[in-house]
Structures are given as structure tokens and as C-alpha cells.
């Protein structure tokens, strides 16, 4: 019962906090990353690779799943099998990205937007909003790491590997004050944010 409310609340919070900037790939990003993490943890590799493929078409940030895959299975899989899966994912990702970049090569815009300097200027011009965001990040991080050792090891590993990557990407390529860029780790963070027993589906 609680789990249903947590899921609904998390959807409402995501939609309402990104209402001005949400794009069509944002909600698929949330659930494709969630599914990929489930299948990776359960070692359902065929399902994982299908979701990885869809996630790669949906957004280029899917490459971070391979980074997590490598870290999680480094001591849980023999090296040959691990390399086989990681190289396979890299090939899928590169093939998809090359194909997409090729067919849209004539459209306006850039291959990659670096907004690092623009973001720094924006944050310095809006000190109160920046302070508010630092506070929100601080509180959320504290809530996630509170009772850290009671939380599932896979989720902790995923958070430690993925959160810093997205924090850096948020500063370099994201728009200032636009938090939908953390969509990939949203479900993961929600699960770490609430006490584990609250995730039970029945009260």
C-alpha cells in the first residue's frame, strides 16, 4: 500500500518539478533505467540487453549502465564473460548512436552542448536559487545515505557509481536549475530515500 503511494508521489514530484522543461524522452528514461537495474540485479541478461538497446535509442546516457555493469560484476563474474558482455553493450551503443547521428546529421544544433560556463554564470547571477538547490541536494543526499548499511548493496553500488557521473553531466551539459537530467537515477534514489520496509507492496 505504501509502495503504491511512494510510486505515485514520485511520479507527481517528477512531473511537477520539471513541468516547464519536460521532453518526450524523460518518462521513458525513468522506467527504462529502472528496468535495466532490475534485470542487471536479477542477472536476466537477455532482458537486460533488450532494455539496454531501447535505452540507447532513447537517450545517449545509456552508456552509464555498462559502467555499472562492469563495476557490479567485476568480482561476480569471470573476466572473459564480463568483457564479452561489456564489449557487446559497447558495440550495441556505438552502432545505435552512429546510426542516429548519421540520419540526423543535417539538422541544426550541435552534437553535444557544453553549458558549463553558462551554468556557472547563471548560478552566480542567482545566488539564492543556487543556495536553495545546494540545500535541497544536501538534504536529499543525507536522506539517501542515512542508515546506508541497511540498504540493498546493489542499490548502494549503483548510486555510488551513477550519481557522481550525473552530477558532473548536470553541471557540464544540463541546464541550470533543471533537475529532470537526473531522471536516470530517479527511481534508484527514491528507493534509497525511503526506509526499505516501506517498499512492501502490501501493508
Amino acid at each position: 500500500m505504501r509502495a503504491s503511494w511512494i510510486a505515485l508521489t514520485s511520479l507527481a514530484v517528477f512531473l511537477l518539478t520539471s513541468i516547464r522543461s519536460i521532453l518526450v524522452y524523460d518518462l521513458p528514461t525513468l522506467f527504462l533505467f529502472g528496468l535495466a537495474l532490475i534485470f542487471m540485479y536479477e542477472q536476466r541478461f537477455t532482458a537486460y540487453l533488450v532494455v539496454f538497446l531501447l535505452a540507447s535509442v532513447n537517450r545517449e546516457t545509456a552508456f552509464v549502465l555498462t559502467v555499472l555493469f562492469f563495476v557490479w560484476f567485476f568480482k561476480r563474474m569471470d573476466l572473459g564473460t564480463l568483457l564479452y558482455f561489456c564489449v557487446g553493450q559497447a558495440l550495441i551503443f556505438v552502432a545505435i548512436q552512429l546510426f542516429i547521428h548519421f540520419i540526423y546529421q543535417d539538422l541544426p544544433g550541435d552534437v553535444f552542448w557544453s553549458r558549463f560556463q553558462t551554468n556557472l554564470v547563471f548560478y552566480s547571477n542567482h545566488p539564492w536559487a543556487s543556495a536553495r538547490d545546494i540545500l535541497i541536494f544536501g538534504v536529499l543526499t543525507w536522506a539517501v545515505i542515512r542508515n546506508w548499511k541497511t540498504k540493498p548493496i546493489f542499490l548502494r553500488t549503483a548510486f555510488v557509481v551513477l550519481a557522481p557521473i550525473f552530477f558532473v553531466l548536470f553541471w557540464i551539459a544540463g541546464f541550470s536549475f533543471e533537475y529532470r537530467t537526473f531522471g536516470e537515477i530517479y527511481l534508484l534514489s527514491v528507493s534509497l530515500l525511503v526506509p526499505n520496509q516501506w517498499l512492501r507492496l502490501t501493508a
Partner: protein, 94 residues
Amino acid sequence: MKFRYRLLTFLLAAALSLSVALLMGYNDPQLALQKLHNFDYRPFVYRALVPWVASLFLWLGIPPQWVLMAIFTLCGVVYIAVALYFFRTFQGVK
């Protein structure tokens, strides 16, 4: 009871997603078409999964605002399904 509760959860998710879609003006055909193609602007246009799926429905002659609102609503419902699956998978895990 469990089934009705789960059904209510999915209906609320659909209502919430659809409300937000309407609030954002997705019922406007011009805006819907731009959104469905990620404004035909790089690098947004590289996020191709939804635009490619939408193209199929647009090709069938379904108005873009219907396609966008249906996809957005469906994505909200799928998110809830995945979230519940995610919670069930990791509940009680050490």
C-alpha cells in the same frame, strides 16, 4: 481488494500524467508535433525512441496531439508499473 487498489493506482497515474500533459498545452497540434520530434534540433533529436514510435501512429493519420497525450499518459502508467516492480525486487534485499 489488492486488485482494486492496484487498478486505482494505475488510474491515478494516468489521470496525473494526462492532467500534466493538458497543463503543458500538449493538446495543441503544432506544439505536439514539435514535441514529438524533439523540435528537430540536435542533440535533443538524437533521443529517438519516442519520436520513432510516434512516427508510426502519425503515419496512420492519428492527430499529433492525441499521439503525444496517449504516449505521455501511457509512459506515466508504465513508470508506476516499473516502480512497483522495482520496489518489489529490492524490498527486504540486503
